[in-house]
Symmetry: C2
DNA sequence: CTGGATCCATGATGATACTG
DNA sequence: CAGTATCATCATGGATCCAG
């Protein structure tokens, strides 16, 4: 009412001001997908199944105007690359806490028709391992998901990292190969997990595989403590 | 086809699932104001200037359905008290990170007509002191703001707390008395601050007041490191 | 092909007034 | 005190189309 901008809350509260910038529908999901590096318009369209081009355009323009996103439009090049500014990257702690809240409070198994991007599942695993302080020594896990690229999961003394690998497969302690949905089902199922699941292939030394299974026992959260019995 | 609920993102991503529950407009501001204790409908209306009763009702019903908020409707009593469930309280880390992001990235001084609630400003100060690890020993500051109640700010070895005081004024090292907007202007102005500002009254020993001013030098963020000099 | 824009439908939100 | 009712507006979704 007071503010010239109807989308403003008009409160002198930094949470309200934060939400004025990232509170719109899809906004934080755009930031999430740009967190792993610059992307093109169609890259973002692919990852965010369900968004319309109109809405994505609007979100990118808003985020750009608020200084969270930067568009690289090089002359003579077709593609437009969107990337986060420092202010955008600075949202990482908030995104992590929101993701962990979702992990703790709305953990539902994936529905059969629900699109799954490996990066989102692996990111959840990484944050949970980090949060629980799981220390599996110095390990390196390669994850291969046909159609969405390869990921490398590394742990070193309680510190975990997730990287997307564009190049050829690198050496790793274990190698996991699965479809998108199989990976999601495997990781979201409560322990104990079956090392010989049909639809997922894990290779490596028996010792490395045991280390892997022991580490991911903390995922999903609460599963190693207790399981509520319902759907 | 994909989602029976049109408000669902339809992604298997815990951040998306979190945003399905707290991503609606005003939702996180409701959670914010319930974080300091149970409130009535009109309490929330007062704090969230600009929300319409229809929208507040809708948000409370949604949050209740999602298990974040609980309504106490005692028979024979007019008032309805809303409070957070454990899942709702569990949002505190996420709210704190979002607030700190706002503090770091959109720090604007309050506009003259902008309603200010002391709790929001003091909460920002608390989080910043905590985040910066400021240790002022064991201190107790009383804040009196006519019309919005009293607050007690306590610090003990790097750990800071903010409480709303319903009862009479308790003993404290210093006592701050100001209007809403004066308090906001005082705290959001970059240091060095003037201990003898006209529109704010600070009482206590000279030593205690020095401790106070030194502690709040970290607020707002970045102000104690460097100030951009333009023009 | 990428990176959008346009048209239309609908649901969410805002403004204002009123009620059990 | 705690909402509901009504109307207006805006953001978003769905589908299609277009320019470089």
């Amino acid at each position: 009412m007071t503010g010239s901008d109807p989308r403003s809350y008009g409160h002198f509260c930094m949470l309200a001001k934060a939400l004025e910038r990232v509170g719109d529908r899809w906004a934080l999901l755009v930031v999430r997908d740009l967190m792993s590096g610059p992307k093109r318009f169609t890259d973002l369209m692919d990852r965010m199944a369900g968004i319309t081009p109109k809405t994505l355009t609007r979100r990118l323009r808003d985020l750009e105007a608020d200084g969270l996103v930067e568009a690289d439009r090089e002359a003579g090049r077709r593609e437009v690359w969107y990337q986060l500014t420092p202010a955008g990257e600075d949202l990482q702690p908030a995104l992590e806490e929101l993701l962990l809240w979702g992990l703790r409070n709305v953990a539902e198994p994936p529905r059969p028709d629900e699109p799954v991007h490996p990066e989102h599942v692996l990111r959840a695993l990484q944050l949970q391992l980090q949060r629980e302080g799981v220390d599996a020594g110095s390990v390196r896990w390669a994850v291969h998901v046909p159609g969405t690229g390869n990921y490398t999961f590394t742990g070193d003394g309680g510190r975990w990292e997730l990287r997307s690998e564009d190049g050829p497969e690198t050496t790793a302690d274990i190698s996991i190969r699965a479809t998108r949905s199989a990976l999601a089902r495997f990781l979201t199922a409560p322990p104990p997990r079956d090392p010989h699941t049909e639809d997922i292939e894990i290779t490596g030394t028996a010792s490395a595989i045991r280390t892997f299974f022991k580490a991911i026992d903390v995922f999903p959260p609460g599963s190693h403590i207790q399981r509520p019995l319902d759907a």
